[in-house]
Amino acid sequence: MIPAKFDYVRPGSVDEAVQALQQGGEDAKILAGGQSLLPVLRLRMAAPSVVIDLGGIPELRRIGEDDQYVMVGAMATHHEVMRNDLVKAHVELIAQATETVADPQVRHRGTLGGALAHADPAGDLGAAALALDAEFVILGSGGTRLVPAAEFFQDYFTTAIGEGEILTMVRFPKRSGWKTHYEKFNRVAQAWSMVAVAVALKVDGGTISEARVGLTNMGNVPIRATGVERALVGQQAGPDVAKAAAEHALEGTSAPSDADAASDYREHLAKVLTGRAVLAAAG
């Protein structure tokens, strides 16, 4: 289908992008891969006056590191992220979640920053980013600010990115050697998550010393399953421990009821999948 008319801007730097965004005002939209925006435009469910394409800013695609963090540019594609050695070595959970996103065509176009800023509760990266304590680098006219994952996701399709601001980078604390797994449940291979569970465990001599668990599509935003985490820490990873911990999976959730799944089914799945994800991560 054909989108409604809009102006198109392709800035060459982040500063130009911020400027264009501020000029565009309320009706401006950022194009960051376009795997959700373009269908919405084509279905005429959105009619922005100007579309600002971040695809022409090479620095936004960089993936780098320092001692503490792996830093992923917001415009790194899913494909680049999941194949990146730094990501695989230090934040493997992100690579695992990214591999489950849609299909190869989408993963070659869609971007990490675009998906996180879109904040679809059924998107796969939010739960993983939350579980890993990711930090979001947001640029506005007043400069850069850093927002922790716990504060980034605010509501259904709503994040801490303010008007006139751009997400430029996400940095992930290195968790080298952690055992991780992303357990996704969906209807067909390329579909969004009905429910999914992201698990990262630090295991020392068979005992779980730290645990991070994030849930996808169990509320308006990705949810950190702290009850599950507490139940795991200090335990030997095994089926009984995983099952007992999974009983805490619903704490703080408010599962939606929709065409994909009624809420009781989602709640049931969240528990089963949490148990399985913990076991799979512990290996």
């Binding site: 054909i2 269908p39 920053g113 679809d120 059924a122 399709f157 065409a259 089914y265 089963v272």
Partner: protein, 827 residues
């Protein structure tokens, strides 16, 4: 793929040739209708109803007319089209109720998506923009959505002037036809007899969306001697005739071209309101006019498939012998009758008895109107519904009798030495060997081993349970003997036409009326002609899809291209050889009786004298020396009208894993052994089977068109309407065995629909077989993980919520993005 009939090395027939049309099609060099834009073309966008049932109080075109690039905005009244009705060519009963199906709504709308007005503009974008400016005021009416409620007396009427929602009720009764006993008597007897049982079940055939790749499109150019219609259609010839019937344009003034057409699956068999609109507008404006739909328009308005409620009763002796089958169907037509829509469920009447010897049979089908998109042919058309019904019932009967379901089938099926066999539904199956296909399929899947594994998993309480799905299907295809179609009041014959032109240089042009839209006709037909005429495969061109090139034909549907169109080509080739032989005899100064023809060579028996068919073609072109009383031409036409349907069959088996914790269904292995007679091109056959399986499995596991209580289709995108991809399906094990058809010269049967017809019941039987011991007796299609889980919950005595199928899931993103939520970042 292997075949039991080993192809000979010199023969083209049987060779697994890569399709010669694919280079172009898969590298984007194809030419679809939307690629065709004559100079001066105007583009249209249709303003569509957002309500399922309403009266139109006003249409305000003024803003749209002022929009940039707009040439005009028209309603049915503006076009003088209020009396025009789109054709239904299959009045299944003499008293069938058929409403007028308008090109644009007149006064009222009857389904969500129905065209209300049309915008004509200089570009498609301008037309789309302006379409949003047309203000339509509606008085909403309560939509009629439930076919069963709609079929009852006193129901709210979709078309009040018809006085009923039941368009027609079609009945076949073997007692009355003399082909069997009375099923009422059989059931009554069974009920009164302790040594017999009666099993009653209700199945639901959900509504499906065909989902062909290329959305529909048409271009009409009125500026030539003939008005030219390019259309993304399966049926260019039928479209030409029906355009004449609908609009009164003389047939001789029409040229229809189906250029490359990107799939159809029955979904492009119609005569569309938009096609007729384009003709009307092109005539009115004297400019070429183009329409290309969007994917959502396609899903909303292109005809849907299936949608039946099936009430089935089977009676049997306790030893397993079936004594009667009673079939009662309700079929949802949607709001209007499609071109052949009313006949689609009726085709099932001949197939519910399937491969079994059933002594008493009755089939009753009521076609019902609702305020939904109309239904019509979709891959298999009537036969998948019937096959599903009977194959599910065979499993149910086996469960009730405590029998192995395969053994029960064998007890009742027609044995290979009983062919030809005339069925209770009056068809004569010419050939088949159910034992052979079944034995091979059971070997390939290791049936006994799977049963052992199933036992073991049950015993150990494995969270993943195993089920074995069975479908021993047959179908009638190769539509169809014209006289049979006549007896069914079908509005056309079932013949097919071909012609062969021998060019001066010995190359061959073949025209066929069976217009391909992705099937591989160009390759398979070339193989046949190369063999028949003894010319190289590369020297044969297959021409089709243009009424100036192949003026005569009845197009492609119902697995008819090879078994009807292919035989027409064979007959035309025989005529070429006959003529060439006369000229060869003349040139070789020999008697025709002394000539033999093999590998493209006419030779005088017992000598080394001979002439190649290419030489004869050149000599005929030169015409310097040819027999008295003969025309200097080898060119030949043939029209073939089949004497019978063809009856492919096969045994499809699958291993279904069901995760009893999550409800997840996993198709672990799928094996099918199809008997489609002789095979022209095994690679094309394998492709047809694979694609067919994917579509049939999709009905069992993935697809369903959902309407909300206002009659709005809620999953009109491919995000929400879940079509499986390769990643969702295993690698299929497909084989063929060959019991050649005895009713055509090539011994071939159709294959285009086999996979779709067979696979749906195999999958559902397998899912139920996996968890029946946990108390689950029925799961509606598609058997999604949630439905399986819910059935398990209920079997365990727990409650489970209803799924709100009209609420978009957040993950299904597109439907859920709230345009009123400006803070929502969409990137």
């Amino acid at each position: 793929m292997t075949t039991t009939a080993e192809p000979t090395t010199t023969s083209e027939i049987g060779k697994a040739r890569v399709r010669k049309e694919d280079q172009r099609l898969i590298t984007g060099r194809s030419r679809y209708t939307d690629s065709i834009t004559p100079s001066g073309t105007l583009h249209i966008a249709v303003v569509r109803s957002t309500l399922a049932r309403a009266t139109i109080s006003s249409i305000d075109k003024s803003e749209a007319e002022k929009a940039p690039g707009v040439h005009g905005v028209f309603t049915a009244a503006d076009l003088g089209a209020e009396e025009i009705g789109l054709p239904c060519a299959w009045p299944v009963t003499p008293d069938q109720k058929a409403p007028q199906r308008p090109v644009l709504a007149v006064g009222r709308v009857n389904f969500s998506g129905e065209g209300v007005a049309v915008v004509v503009a200089r570009s498609a974008a301008a037309a789309r923009d302006a379409a949003e400016l047309v203000e339509v005021d509606y008085e909403p009416l309560d939509p009629v959505l439930d076919m069963e409620a709609a079929s009852k007396e006193g129901a709210e009427l979709v078309h009040p002037d018809l006085g009923t929602n039941v368009s027609a009720t079609w009945v076949f009764d073997s007692g009355e036809a003399g082909s069997g006993g009375s099923v009422a008597d059989a059931i009554k007897a069974a009920e009164a007899d302790d040594d017999q049982i009666v099993v009653r079940r209700r199945f639901r055939q959900q509504r499906l969306i065909p989902g062909f790749m290329e959305p529909r499109s048409c271009v009409v150019d009125p500026t030539g001697e003939q008005l030219t219609i390019w259309a993304a259609t399966q049926v260019p010839h039928i479209l030409r005739t029906m355009t004449t019937v609908t609009l009164g344009v003389p047939e001789s003034k029409l040229r229809v071209i189906a250029p490359d057409v990107g799939g159809g699956f029955g979904g492009k068999i119609g005569v569309l309101p938009e096609e007729m609109l384009c003709v009307l507008l092109a005539q009115k404006l004297n400019r070429p006019v183009k329409w290309t739909e969007t994917r959502s328009e396609c899903m909303l308005t292109a005809h849907h498939g299936r949608d039946q409620i099936q009430d089935l009763t089977i009676s049997a002796k306790k030893d397993g012998t079936i004594t009667g089958l009673d079939v009662h169907l309700l079929a949802d037509m949607g709001s209007y009758l499609g071109l052949v829509g009313p006949g689609v469920p009726i085709l099932g009447a001949f197939m519910f008895n399937a491969i079994y010897k059933i002594p008493a049979y009755k089939f009753t089908c009521s076609n019902v109107f609702t305020n939904k998109t109309l239904t019509d042919a979709y891959r298999g058309a009537g036969r998948p519904e019937a096959t599903f019904g009977i194959e599910r019932m065979m499993d149910e009967l086996a469960v009730e009798l405590g029998r192995d379901p395969m053994e029960l089938r064998e007890q009742n099926w027609i044995a290979h030495d009983e062919f030809p066999f005339t069925t209770v539904a009056t068809l004569t199956y010419d050939s088949g060997n159910y034992e052979q296909a079944t034995q091979r399929a059971m070997e390939l899947i290791d049936y006994a081993g799977l049963r052992r594994e199933q036992e073991e998993r049950r015993r150990s309480g494995d969270p993943v349970q195993l089920g074995i799905g069975i479908s021993t299907f047959t179908e009638m295809c190769g539509l169809a003997p014209s006289r049979v179609l006549g007896s069914l009041d079908y509005g056309a014959g079932g013949w097919e036409a071909a012609s062969i032109r021998m060019l001066a240089t010995g190359k061959v042009e073949v025209t066929t009326g069976a217009s391909a839209h992705g099937q591989g006709h160009e390759t398979a037909f070339s193989q046949i002609v190369a063999d028949k005429l003894g010319v190289p495969f590369e020297d044969v061109e297959i021409l089709h899809g243009d009424t100036q090139v192949s003026p005569k034909g009845l197009d492609t549907y119902g697995s008819r291209s090879l078994v009807v169109g292919g035989i027409a080509i064979v007959n035309a080739a025989d005529k070429v050889i006959e003529k060439a032989k006369k000229i060869a005899a003349h040139l070789l100064e020999a008697s025709e009786d002394d000539l033999e023809f093999a590998n493209g060579q006419f030779s005088v028996k017992g000598t080394d004298k001979g002439k190649a068919i290419q030489e004869i073609a050149f000599a005929t072109f030169m015409a310097h020396d040819y027999p008295e009383g003969m025309e200097p031409s080898l060119d030949s036409d043939a029209v073939f009208d089949p004497e019978n349907f063809s009856f492919p069959h096969g045994t499809h088996l699958c291993a279904m894993e069901v995760d009893a914790e999550t409800g997840r269904v996993n198709l672990r292995k799928y094996v099918c052994v199809d008997d489609i007679g002789n095979v022209i091109n095994p690679l094309i056959v394998e492709g047809q089977v694979h694609g067919g399986l994917a579509q049939g499995i999709a009905q069992a596991l993935y697809e369903e068109a959902n309407y909300d209580d206002q009659g709005t289709l809620v999953n009109a995108t491919f995000v929400d309407y879940t079509i499986p991809s390769a990643a969702d399906l295993p690698s299929f094990t497909t084989e063929t065995v060959a019991t050649p058809a005895t009713t055509n010269a090539l011994g071939v049967k159709g294959v285009g629909e086999a996979g779709t017809i067979a696979s749906t019941p195999a999958i559902v039987n397998g899912v139920l077989d996996a968890i029946r011991h946990l108390g689950v007796t029925e799961i509606e299609m598609p058997t999604t993980s949630q439905r399986v889980w819910k059935a398990l919950q209920e079997a365990r005595g727990h409650k489970a919520q209803e799924t709100p199928s009209d609420t978009h899931s957040p993950g299904a993103g597109l439907g859920s993005i709230d345009p009123n939520n400006p803070q929502g970042e969409v990137q």
